[in-house]
Amino acid sequence: MSENPPADAQVVVGLEVHCQLDTKSKLFCGCSTDYRDDGPNTHVCPICLGLPGTMPMINKKVIEYAMKVGKALNCEVSEESEFSRKNYFYPDLNKAYQITQYDKPLALGGYVEIEGDDGKERKIRLTRIHVEEDPGRLVHMGNAERGRYSLVDYNRAGIPLIEIVSEPDMRSPKEARKFLNKLRATLEYLGVFDSDKEGSLRVDANISLKGSERVEVKNISSYKGVEKALTFEVTRQKNLLRRGLKVDRETRHYLEARGITQSARSKEQENDYRYFPEPDLRPLRVKSWVKDIALPELPDARRERFVTQYSCSLNHARTLTGELKMANFFESVVAQNKDACALAATWIADTLTGELNYRDMGIESVDPAKFASLLALLKAGTITDKSGVEVLRVMLDEQHKGETVETPDVIVKRLNLARTSGDDGVLLAAIQEVIRENPKAIEDYKAGKKGALNFLVGQAMKKTRGRSDPGELNTLMTKALSGLE
């Protein structure tokens, strides 16, 4: 046990990410991929059912999409790649083999840039990207071990996937999460991936503490899940080492609901998939095609542009470009409010994001025009920041409940949120009231206690329900107090 690594050993993480490419039809037949709201086995044909005698035909769009991903992730797209059969028996595997790429994948190498835990940009290297078909899905009546029976749904069979395999270059669960976020953003920018679709991304994670055995955590199906599963593993493995035990090389499953990993029943022996080239498909040659693959603006480029074009801070730019919808939202808001870039960046990256997260809502539920007019009210000084948040909350709540969302103008009027100003008498009246109600604080103030002023301004703020500007209130209060002397 003396060769055991120390319990604070470096974490090493590598990921295998399966992404569903968002094409209209399946990888090897014309069946629609849009099956999620439909009944089981409604999007199937002889080919994707793997009926005897059927043969696969490659969907060109899938290859185009996969090449886009390869290019965008700085891979070398292979001029010639090949499909192979991975043979194994499973009830949801229609042909008892999966058509995938084995020793000649579509793309090799490449990297994803992330912000490392040390705050510096880091390149996470990629091993390969390959194309494969998804198998069907089993629905167990009861559970897999003791259920009375299982049903098979082949709607998912033949859905195009790419598998992106990274090198073990991530040093923490957080970096793994960042890698995935960057990957998702890139795929979304490319228009080849819809992360909102159930099961669109599935991850197998390999994790080890340097010098110790590697553990594979299988089938993690959420972004948060990856970080959680890995964090659990780091703790578990460190604890083992701390107690002088060793980490077994094994496969574990992540139990999403409980946030833990659990050892999969150890297999008696390694599966032999008996890979061999798929005789029904010819090698895939893309030499001239790959040159014509054009890439749109990608997250890094857009982030840089946000910094230069809109003077966003790097942090804001990172948040705003981290999701395609967010970036698009920002730009459509800014387009309507050209001189409110800074305001828009802060309000979207910080305030709006927080409010959306709290409600578990997506950015697509916010109308950029209405949001822009809210910013206009703020910019013009019609309402204070505090009132702005209140207006925003009203809008989001209305949206959440499915009610008609009012314009910020209407909300401001209805709730009487317009900023008070010195000359409409409201502020002065509030100040007089506060002075009357708080003789003790006045005494303190007179005695030179600094805190008393803040207290009094706060009280006055309360009376105006956030409609007043703290600075202005402060000036007015000071003036009123000096009148008392």
Binding site: P52, M57, V152, R274
Partner: protein, 432 residues
């Protein structure tokens, strides 16, 4: 269009399913009943590959070749018997009993398209579709005394052919004479968007008996050890007749031939082990015992459903593909295959076709070849063509002991027309 009645007097067990009132239409094959080998999918007609494991399976779609035959007006007369999943050279390996050779019911019709050949030879149908993986069209054509063409790989779509060994097999026409084979070929050849290996090479040929100047290579291996001298003599005589008709002959050699059989059996069993894995009782065939765990249930269904020859080949292929052995067997077989392809290409630089016997012997007696190896050895003259993907035809060229002998004519890739012409020339002018 026409409603036919088809009630053959099937004394030979040629058919596994008969369509009593097959519907025809109009077109090139209007009103012609065509029999289809039972490994080719026919919509609405039980298709079993002569295996218990597919008993009751009714495909919901037509194979591309079947759809073409139908749209040319032919009537699908029924499904013909075969060696289970195409594995065999005698049609004795059918789960539903062997087919008998109409020329001598004590003998096998050859395989694996034995049912199709017998149906044609007995006059029950004018034409039939067969499939050829290592000689499965040519062998029964030779044994039953009919004509059978194994087209160039990719010339006829395999879509709907229940795969045994994808990279080797092809669907092809069988009939009593070359003209009918050519006619059926003209219907089934061409590109199919469902088959990625299919080529856009339609066949619009009318056979011509003019073979003046055709250069014929005679590979010495086709007359070597294992070839019955009586059969060799008949075939040599037939080649002599071709010379009289204006062809010239050139002796030649295919050195890679000695590896052909080994390479063939490694490749076909490897592919078969993968192709037949889907027959697990979950989707078709006899249902699995659901109270058992998956793998136990699959094992039972497959042990019950597959015959001994199929099980043997699955095991051989599984072994050949397994890690640690892949390089030793499958990869090596592919190298041998490439050498065979090169040997043929080299020969075809000098000659237009190659000729030799289709089979080393006449049809064997039922049960005569009881050990698998001696059966495998009888494929020696047919498998090189499949490894190279080239076209070859078998045309009757005489008899030995009153049993027919086949002349095999092999051609360059996509020169199916030329092998048809040579066969046609022999057929028209063969008997002096």
């Amino acid at each position: 269009m026409s409603a036919l009645r088809f009630e053959p007097d099937d004394k030979y067990n040629a058919f596994l399913a008969v369509c009593k009132e097959p519907k025809g239409g109009s077109g090139k094959l209007s009103g012609i009943p065509v029999a289809v080998k039972d490994n080719i999918s026919t919509q609405g007609i039980e298709t079993t590959c002569a295996s218990k494991i597919l008993k009751g399976y009714i495909p919901p779609y037509d194979a591309h070749a079947v759809a073409l035959v139908k749209s040319a007006g032919a009537a699908i007369a029924g499904k013909t018997n075969m060696d289970e999943f195409g594995m065999g050279t005698s049609t004795e390996n059918s789960a539903f009993g062997p087919t008998l050779n109409p020329r001598d019911t004590g003998r096998v019709p050859g395989g694996s398209s034995g049912g199709s050949a017998a149906a044609v030879a007995a006059g029950m149908v004018r034409m039939a579709l067969g499939t050829d993986t290592g000689g499965s069209i040519r062998c029964p054509a030779a044994f039953c005394g009919i004509v059978g063409l194994k087209p160039t790989y990719g010339r006829v779509s395999r879509y709907g052919l229940i795969a045994y060994a994808n990279s080797l097999e092809t669907i092809g026409p069988m009939a009593a004479n070359v003209s009918d084979v050519s006619l059926l070929m003209s219907v089934i050849a061409g590109h199919d968007k469902h088959d990625a290996t299919s080529q856009d090479r339609p066949y619009t040929h009318t056979p011509s008996a003019d073979i003046k100047g055709t250069r014929i290579g005679i590979p010495q291996e086709y007359f070597g050890a294992g070839v019955d001298p009586a059969v060799a003599a008949v075939v040599k005589k037939a080649i002599g007749r071709l010379e009289e008709l204006g062809a010239t002959t050139v002796p030649c050699s295919i050195p890679s031939m000695e590896y052909a059989l080994a390479a063939y059996y490694v490749i076909c069993t490897s592919e078969a082990s993968s192709n037949l894995a889907r027959f697990d009782g979950v989707r078709y065939g006899p249902a699995v015992e659901t109270k058992k765990s998956w793998h136990a249930a699959f094992q039972d269904a497959r042990r019950e459903g597959f015959g001994p020859e199929v099980r043997r080949r699955i095991m051989l292929g599984t072994f050949a593909l397994s890690s640690g052995y892949y390089g030793k067997y499958y990869a090596k077989a592919q190298v041998a295959r490439e050498n065979i392809r090169k040997d043929f290409a080299r020969l075809f630089a000098d000659v237009d076709v190659l000729c030799g016997p289709t089979m080393p012997t006449i049809a064997f007696r039922l049960g005569e070849k009881s050990d698998p190896l001696s059966m495998y050895l009888s494929d020696i003259l047919t498998v090189p063509v499949n490894l190279a993907g080239i076209p070859a035809i078998s045309v009757p060229c005489g008899t030995v002991q009153d049993m027919p002998v086949g002349l095999q004519i092999m051609g360059r890739p996509f020169e199916d027309e030329r092998v048809i012409d040579v066969a046609y020339a022999y057929e028209q002018g063969g008997q002096p």
